[in-house]
């Protein structure tokens, strides 16, 4: 999972990063749901399902950014 290694990152970087992680995952989820719905003609079920998946993916990314980076690393 992506995380910033090395120097302790600037808080400005974190703020910018965290916001787009959630937005990007939700956008991808909505896009995938919309395409599946159009293909299988099942509107709105896949849109709703993949919206939930997208938000969950965003929060998973957020969790990894927030929690994994707090752990002490032996590689630095």
């Amino acid at each position: 999972m992506p995380r910033l290694k090395g120097d302790r990152a600037h808080s400005h970087q974190w703020g910018l990063r965290v916001g787009t992680e959630i937005v990007a995952s939700t956008m991808i989820g909505l896009g995938a749901g919309f395409m599946l719905d159009r293909w299988l003609d099942t509107r709105p079920w896949f849109l709703l399902l993949f919206f939930a998946f997208g938000v969950a993916a965003g929060f998973i990314n957020l969790y990894h950014v927030m929690v994994l980076d707090q752990k002490p690393r032996d590689d630095d």
């Binding site: 970087q13 910018l16 990007a24 995952s25 991808i28 993949f50």
Partner: protein, 244 residues
């Protein structure tokens, strides 16, 4: 006075219509700004390193410090094989920081305010990491989507979420750079317009604010290029060592 159009500066115009066997390859202001950025950054780097000596002068020192900064960033974020990726990260960083700074020149245009430019860069990095994963790990590439220690019955829930979080990487890279640059330039434009509209005795407030904002913009231009390159390095490292 002309109507305020803060997003007018981001319109793409065709400057030189070109046609190659029915394919439209016209030079737009985005393409010209990108070309100018490449030429300017190359010329500046060549000028900095023109007179090389063992005891470096100011110009050489500046050039070497710039290279060392990007080299250290790459080596810190890509373990073991970091040295191979220094040239591409140097090129990427120079192009992005040059494009960001290009937009701060009066009458100029920042190519990174176009999502097509940031998206192309992000998708290129993403496709390269996918290629690296497939080349180094073959079918093991797909194990990354099934996290360790997850019960079997949770797989239908976790696998789509992991795939979505993987696919969100290029989108997040592209949107972050594009949104920050566009927002910064729009704010600069709006504050400058306030300065023009205000009566003469308060004009100094928005005008001095726009000078301060220009300083912040220079800082953000460098920070955004840095974030883009650090995350590209992290994604490449993730492709080389998927379970680290």
């Amino acid at each position: 006075m002309q109507t305020m159009q803060p997003l007018h500066a981001f319109t793409v115009h065709t400057q030189l219509p070109l046609d190659l066997f029915g394919v439209d390859i016209s030079l737009t202001n985005t393409a010209i700004a990108l070309l100018l950025t490449s030429i300017c950054s190359t010329v500046i780097l060549i000028l900095l390193l023109q007179r090389q000596s063992i005891l470096p002068g100011r110009a050489q020192l500046l050039g070497e410090m710039y290279f060392e900064f990007i080299r250290n960033m790459t080596l810190k974020n890509i373990h073991e094989h970091g040295e191979h990726y220094v040239p591409i990260m140097f090129t990427l960083f120079t192009l992005i920081v040059g494009s960001n700074l290009m937009g701060l020149l009066p009458g100029s245009f920042a190519p990174t305010t176009q999502i097509v430019v940031t998206g192309t860069l992000a998708v290129a990095v993403f496709l390269y990491t996918v290629y690296l994963r497939v080349r180094l790990h073959g079918w093991g590439f797909f194990h990354a989507f099934a996290p360790h220690g997850i019960p079997f019955y949770l797989m239908p829930l976790m696998v789509p979420v992991e795939i979505l979080s993987f696919l969100a990487r290029p989108v997040s890279l592209a949107v972050r750079l594009f949104a920050n640059m566009t927002a910064g330039h729009t704010v600069l434009g709006v504050i400058a317009f306030f300065g023009l509209l205000a009566p003469w005795y308060v004009q100094w407030v928005p005008l001095s604010l726009s000078v301060a904002l220009l300083g912040v913009e220079i800082f953000i231009a460098a920070i955004q290029a840095y974030i883009f390159c650090v995350l590209s390095c992290v994604y490449i490292d993730d492709a080389i060592h998927p379970h680290s």
